[in-house]
Amino acid sequence: MNNLTRISLLSFIVALLVFFCSCDKEDQAAKYLHNGTDIWKVESIQYLEYDTTGNIISDTTIIEPGEFVFFQEVSSYGADGYHQGIFINYDENIGYTLDYVIDKYRFKIIDYSGPFGFDKLYTITELGKQKQEWIYIINYNDLGLDWEIRAKEIVKISKKGYN
């Protein structure tokens, strides 16, 4: 095998690796959550409500209500990409089991009996290995139009021990 052949083969392999690595963002985002200690402190949950003209009519923030433990193990919905997790509520000192799935853009949680609610889809506004921020919006007008009363929930989490 001459040098030219070696260069060609190497380039081809590198190109293939780059291509297939770029198609695996969903798994990459999940690794952020369950890698290392896999314990994330919920720094705050902010609840905002807007009136029909967009003015804020309610603004409540709960500081450090608990922590998440995100496991790598798949849940009973594993075929759909779900993993297992727990939310530990500090006030109640209770752990709630949950299922979660994440990609580069969204975090979906099925929190069967805990405070996060069943089947919630958050938009990820900050995706980091140490810090993340998710936003959930709900409109009170079921028509899905744009001038309804709106509520927004902002969840900030960080790897426990990270400031």
């Binding site: 060609s8 967009g54 990409g81 969204r106 938009t123 936003i135 919006i137 899905g144 744009d146």
Partner: protein, 252 residues
């Protein structure tokens, strides 16, 4: 699938043993945005009764473009005739298309495409000064469409409060047909122009939403696909301008 890759791999290895040189190029690629399902979506959105009177700027229903970069590696033999085995990738992004509402809300649509092009080119050459190839091969395309909503306070949401929001992705395999011209004044470096017609896939492969289970669309928009989907039906001409570096021995 694995067997196909091994076959292609083996073909390139064996072809390479008999080749005279290897060439790499990188370039800028442009493809007009041509998709029946997405055009239908934009048109239906603009004409939806619920939005008429509230839209400040409707979707651009016809004009849109993909732009991005391409890379390619070729093995070639060139001696008056010119034969090339091409293996390349194209990374494309559509121009962001939005429908703007008078109250400050915006509906966004971004589309990303990653193409793997595997083709052969045959034609003629004049040493390193010039070559012209006709290309025929396959195009494997991964597509991702991001549909999200922006609120007046600039909050971006992929959430279910707007039913069509989501991340849609899909894959399809089709053919490509085109040509490449390379021109140079100095050895080993050439300016190239490549044009390909990427065919509409035979099968109606679709973009599927991920993560979100949708049962219906209350926006009542025909998005051209079954259920929560778009057809992955982008096709048309693709143009690339680039610069190529060749390593190997040209016949004088």
């Amino acid at each position: 699938m694995n067997r196909s890759f091994l076959t292609i791999f083996a073909l390139i290895i064996s072809a390479n043993v008999f080749t005279q040189g290897v060439a790499f190029w990188v370039g800028h690629t442009h493809q007009p945005f041509k998709s029946i399902s997405f055009s239908n979506y934009f048109t239906d959105y603009n004409n939806n009764e619920a939005f008429v009177g509230y839209l400040e700027k409707p979707f651009d229903a016809v004009q849109n473009n993909f732009n991005g970069i391409s890379t390619n590696m070729s093995v070639f033999v060139s001696d008056g005739y010119d034969f090339r085995g091409n293996n390349g990738f194209t990374f494309l992004k559509s121009i962001n298309n939005t429908a703007d509402f008078k109250n400050g809300d915006k509906r966004h649509v971004d589309v990303y495409m990653t193409d793997w092009n595997l083709d052969i080119g045959f034609g003629f050459s004049l040493s390193y000064f010039f070559f012209l190839n006709f290309n025929v091969g396959m195009n494997s395309r991964f597509g991702k469409a991001l549909l999200y909503f922006e609120y007046p306070d600039n909050t971006i949401s992929f959430g279910k409060e707007k039913t069509v929001s989501g991340v849609y992705s899909g894959w399809r395999l089709t053919g490509l047909l085109g040509g490449t011209i390379g021109i140079s004044a100095i050895p080993y470096v050439q300016f190239i122009y490549r044009i390909d017609y990427v065919f509409k896939p035979y099968a109606d492969l679709i973009y599927q939403t991920q993560l979100v289970d949708r049962l219906y669309f209350i926006e009542n928009i025909d998005i051209g696909g079954a259920g929560d989907s778009f057809y992955n039906d982008f096709y048309g001409w693709r143009h690339t301008f680039g610069i190529q570096i060749s390593i190997g021995q040209y016949e004088d």
